[in-house]
Amino acid sequence: MIWRYRAVLIILILAFLAVLSRLFYWQVVKAEDLSRLGQSQYERSINILPQRGEIKTSDYFQIVTNRISYLVFANPKQIKNKNEASIILSSELGIDKASVSSQLSMDKYWISLKTGIDTQEKKKIEDLRIQGVDFEETFTRFYPEASMAAHLLGFVGKDDLGKDKGYFGLEGYYDRLLRGKEGAVIEVFDALGRPVLAQASSNPENLKGNSLVLNIDRAVQFITDEKLKKGIKKYGAVGGIVAVMEPKTGNIIALSSFPSFSPSEYGKFDSSLYKNPSISNLYEPGSTLKPLIMSAALDAGIVKPQTKCSICDKPVSVGGYEIRTWNDEYFKDINMVDVIRRSDNTGMVFVGQKLGADRMTDYLTKFGIGTGTGIDLQGEVYQALPPKDKWYEADLATRAFGQGISVTPIELLDSFSSIANGGIRMEPHVVREIQTPEGKTIKIVPKALGRTISENTSKVMTEMLVNAVNKGEASYARVKGYRIAGKTGTASIPIAGHYDPNKTVASFIGYAPADNPKFAMLVIFNKPTTSIYGAETAAPVFFDIARQLLLYYGISPTE
């Protein structure tokens, strides 16, 4: 009998073990899968679309915001009459019929037909009631001011995973701050699929990206955009730049450049237009660099305003090259004030030789030439200055009047602004504050980068520049009644080892009012054709914009 008991016991133990192992399988091994299966019957995860942060101008106008758009997709397996559907969809969506037809004939459950359609277009297609066609809500960038400041703003494209990514300008530089966080909300449904009040997993408001408030003044940006466009047309230039900065803070008030692109349709433009020439294009500044070299020589005590040039009565021969003035006129014993007023190259060679390569390099470095400005825009470039021992005699002479040295427009404006700011160079900055989705505001404080020249030198240089405006080549265009400091520039363009005599970069740089500057501005025309000179192209546009800005800021004349 005992064996029977034992057999029953063993069978029971085996059965018990089988049940136990099965329970272990369901409760431990498959626990997560079962839990997920159960949850799927009463829970649904709804993806929350991340909303990219907005970009606002200094008046809190949303120059870049988001609009709702839709992705039209279809399930080809649900569409019965594919030919009819492709005819209707191609005409409504404005795409080729053959393209729609070939997509609908695919053996797939999901095909994308068109992205970026608006609410009205969506409604039209909805009203057609085509079975198997549906929509997905997305956010796309909307630009109320169209292509205003396009280079400055950049654009939003897609990354390798098809997600939104900022490229160029502010969108590129502040991409991580602007992009929203992806999130999901769990909703509980009853047996009939109706939602039941349940705990949401996250607050959708906190998924939004940070917003940026800029130093860019929309009115000033509009003025510079309009004046620059007209100037390019009037002077037959290939392109142009206007950059306006507040010398005391480094705030960038306006940054215009043409030819440009439309950020909402960036794909339709040549990719070479995406780069912001104000920060990404190097050029030889020509005579607009002279104030930096002259102020360096004044600051170092090498020359005084009344110092006479002993080599300016004829062309100067340096290192086998003959250096001439722009109009081939030479003045014996010309003083430094007139060297700036007449934009005398031989006078600047005299200053450069007295200053020497060591001191010139030191001062240019203090001015931030060859180091980059640190502006908060994607794509800034700079060309480092050559080492001190690589400066040859001819380099020293030509660099003194702005040839043989390359800078970006923003680099030149920032260094020049330090003269307007009593010798203190500020970091140029486009963004004023960051607004978080939680409602906090992070202010960006102006940052001083160091002293370039003494306050006294800056005052002397200002007087020399005011004199250049009032009595120089561009005096016909000046704004009467105001003291404006400025300097023209006409730089030849280097081509294959020599300078093209007919193609120039014409520019004008200055600040106003000279005694208490509100703005510093640089105007550049690339290869103007009506005249090659800065005094006849960039200067009138500079003073035209300056007149508007003085009116806009309510600054009264002083003379």
Binding site: F61, T65, R67, F142, A146, A219, R547, L550
Partner: protein
């Protein structure tokens, strides 16, 4: 030792009362699905409406739009700067 009957009764009543309340509340919430669904539909609708209105508002308050409107109405750019350097006399002798 006397049994704390009154305490037991209170506890039992509490349990029964809370259970009934839970059933009532759960029942009330679970049948709010239709209303909730409607609220969510309304929220989505107003959200879209708000964004569309904001888009329209931004478009018509943009400088590009205002400038083109002003130009079509005949407004031009002020070319001269008028400033008052001296105080204006209140009255002048003829």
């Amino acid at each position: 030792m006397k049994k704390p009957i009154s305490v037991l009764i209170i506890i039992v009543l509490c349990i029964v009362g809370l259970s009934i309340m839970r059933v009532v509340v759960s029942n009330g919430i679970s049948t709010s699905g239709i209303a909730l669904d409607q609220i969510q539909t309304d929220i989505a609708y107003y959200k879209i409406q708000n964004i569309n209105v904001k888009q329209k508002l931004l478009s018509i308050s943009s400088f590009n739009y205002v400038a083109s409107k002003a130009s079509s109405l005949g407004f031009g750019e002020s070319k001269s700067i008028i400033s008052l350097n001296k105080s204006i006399p209140l009255a002048k002798k003829p």
